[in-house]
Amino acid sequence: MKNSVRLNSAAAMLVRILFAAVAAFPIVFMLVSSLKPDTQIFGDMSSVAAFLPVGNISFDNYAAVFDRVPAARFLVNSIGISAVTVVLGIFINSLCAFALSRMEVRGKRVVFTVILATLIVPFQTLALPLVWWVNQLPYFELNGFSLEISKGWLDTYQVQIIPFIANAFSIYLYHQYFESIPKELDEAARIDGAGWFKIYRQVVMPLAGPATATVAILTFLPAWNSYLWPLMVVQSEELRPVMIGIQYFFQLNVSWGEVMAYASLITVPVVVLFIAFQRSFINSIASSGVKG
């Protein structure tokens, strides 16, 4: 009996190790290949050496990456764009959800339904009209002490951020979470003299930690992985995010070692975030059923 239990747990462990290995192999291959010259990457491909740092190992590919692409600039851009989108996304979407959940306003169910309906429209169908639209928007610039107004948001940071702050799915997540927080807490705060914003800030939001973590992760991942939109709206190299950088390597003769080195560089921030917020990340996927 005891032996059979041990055997079962050993088998379960083996299955887990196998699954973990399958998941880890691409990342290990990427990291290991980033240290090898191209000829060796392809030479090792048909053996286990493809996953081992053996042979001619060096950081040459990483040095070459920085020669070919302004990688540091792209990383800073993506960190900035993703962080601003997450912070503003949490604030705006939670406020919207709070209003829809707590305030008694006529037609709020219709508004909520319309917001949810936008979920079924794929971004690709909106992309071109959105390009035209953002190109019509006014742009304010401080020039010394005078405020100048020009037209068009193309080739700016805000065009990569603002269209992605309001998010129907984030509003939905917050709304559902707020609905589970007893309204009696609002009433008690109200008796103590709190206004709507104070209730939002000091009562509801502190209790909505799990929803905030989920929204933060589900906003960060697409912002970090953003490719199509910046491709369409950003022309200047100094404003490009990291994902565009990967295209720099696909020339007529592709240097695969450099591709792997760059891919490793842009994966590191996501891996660090994953390690830091591992529990919230798993909870977010489990609770939302969405993998970013």
Binding site: E141, T156, Q235, S236, E238, F250
Partner: protein, 431 residues
């Protein structure tokens, strides 16, 4: 520890958010450029290709510092794979720059879409390789500094061991000789598949690489008389014969239906004996194999060897506010020393003989001169019609279907039906 780390990370993100917010006030240098002033912007596809970009920048710097410069040219580089998408988006927003880089076969489509204006250059273009000048409806819309050429690469030692003669421009391999060569190479037993045709390729590679075989069989992508239908041309007997031959290479075990991701690297690692690729791979192969490398023309399948003509070229946009300066720059840039500098940096075929004379590898007797001969003798322009991007997509699908085992006639009929419907729905792509 974990909590502390999380707190530090959260603080860092907030700080980054604040910094980002400040940065959000910034605007790109491309937008800051006012085309109405004496500066015009030029878009190019070679971000990530430092050699080519430096060569282009060199031409621009030379023009900008010349006494006759009519404007200051500003270079804006984009990655090649996503370049077309960036241009189409900019066109939709009315934000195209004055000068753009264009892949040759797309020129008629961009001219038809009113992205481009006909070129009025002070330079005589008759000295250019024909495949480096793009025309549509009698007007020249783009001109290139270089071309590339398709070829067969092999090791002389392998050919000798198998008793196969080296194909030459004067005497390329016939269909039967090619079959015989592949049989002999396979018999050497050195490779799983002796031939690598880059069948893992996608996008423009499919029509660029494989439609020349179709044309060598006597078929084509479209009836070039008016460019209104592909019926009878892309699905006729000769086209079906091409598809059966192509699929037969895989069926006989000569090539993989899906090759490795990097065919050149596989060839250099001795995973194939015969590589079908472009001139861009020659320098890398020569550096690795030295004198053992042989560069041969592609196969004559009945109507002579064929290769795709036209590479990246330059055009001036319809909305350019300073067309005069844009044309002046392009005329200036076509000087032999400029073409030679770009060809040297990219290993491509210089567009004129005068420029080739300045590049040792392409001068008479140079190691890469043979590619110039291929280009002059075998280049067939991809159909000069605005429908080309659609034709290319449908033909690419047909190639992949045939490789996957689809009935050749059905696969080609399907492509023809889609192409004809597209041409009809666009009113025949009339100007």
């Amino acid at each position: 520890m974990n909590k502390r780390f999380t707190r530090i990370l959260a603080t860092s993100i907030t700080a980054a958010a604040l910094i980002g917010s400040l940065g959000a006030c910034g605007k790109g240098s491309a937008s800051a450029t006012t085309e109405g002033s004496n500066e015009i912007t030029m878009w190019t596809h070679n971000a990530g290709n430092p050699e080519e970009l430096a060569a282009i920048q060199g031409v621009v710097d030379s023009y900008n510092s010349s006494t006759g410069a009519k404007a200051k040219i500003k270079v804006q580089a984009f990655p090649q794979d996503s370049y077309n998408d960036s241009v189409v988006s900019a066109a939709a927003a009315g934000k195209l720059p004055c000068i753009v880089d264009i892949d040759g076969p797309n020129v008629p489509n961009w001219a038809w879409a009113k992205y481009l204006t006909p070129l009025k250059l002070s330079t005589d273009l008759s000295a250019q390789l024909p495949s480096t000048v793009a025309t549509w409806e009698g007007e020249t819309y783009a001109v290139g500094y270089y071309d590339v050429a398709l070829a067969m690469l092999a090791r002389a030692s392998d050919l000798e061991a198998a008793g196969i003669r080296v194909a030459t421009v004067e005497q390329p391999w016939t269909k039967d000789e090619f079959q015989d060569a592949l049989t002999k190479l396979k018999a050497l037993g050195k490779w799983d598949y002796p031939l690598d045709m880059g069948t893992a390729g996608s996008g423009e590679w499919l029509p660029y690489a494989y439609s020349p075989f179709l044309q060598s069989f006597g078929a084509d992508l479209i009836n070039r008389d008016g460019f209104q239908t592909a019926d009878g041309v892309l699905n006729g007997d000769k086209a079906v014969a091409w598809a059966e031959w192509f699929r037969g290479l895989a069926d006989q075990g000569f090539m993989a239906t899906k090759s490795g991701k990097d065919s050149t690297q596989d060839f250099l690692n001795n995973k194939s004996g015969l590589l079908y690729t472009g001139s861009w791979a020659a320098d890398k192969a020569r550096a690795a194999l030295g004198d053992d490398l042989v560069v041969m023309p592609t196969v004559d399948l009945g109507n002579g060897p064929k290769i795709g003509g036209a590479s990246w070229q330059w055009g001036v946009t319809e909305g350019c506010a300073n067309t005069d300066a844009a044309m002046d720059y392009l005329s200036y840039s076509l000087q032999p020393e400029n073409l030679a500098a770009v060809a040297k940096a990219t290993g491509t075929i210089p567009a004129t003989d005068a420029a080739a004379a300045l590049v040792p590898a392409f001068a008479e007797g140079g190691a890469n001169r043979i590619f110039m001969d291929f280009s002059r003798n075998y280049a067939v322009m991809r159909p000069e019609t605005p429908a080309y991007p659609f034709i290319a997509t449908e033909y690419g699908k047909a190639v992949q279907d045939v490789l996957a085992g689809a009935d050749p006639q059905s696969a080609l009929d399907k492509a023809v039906k889609a192409i004809d419907a597209n041409i009809k729905s666009n009113g025949g792509y009339k100007n």
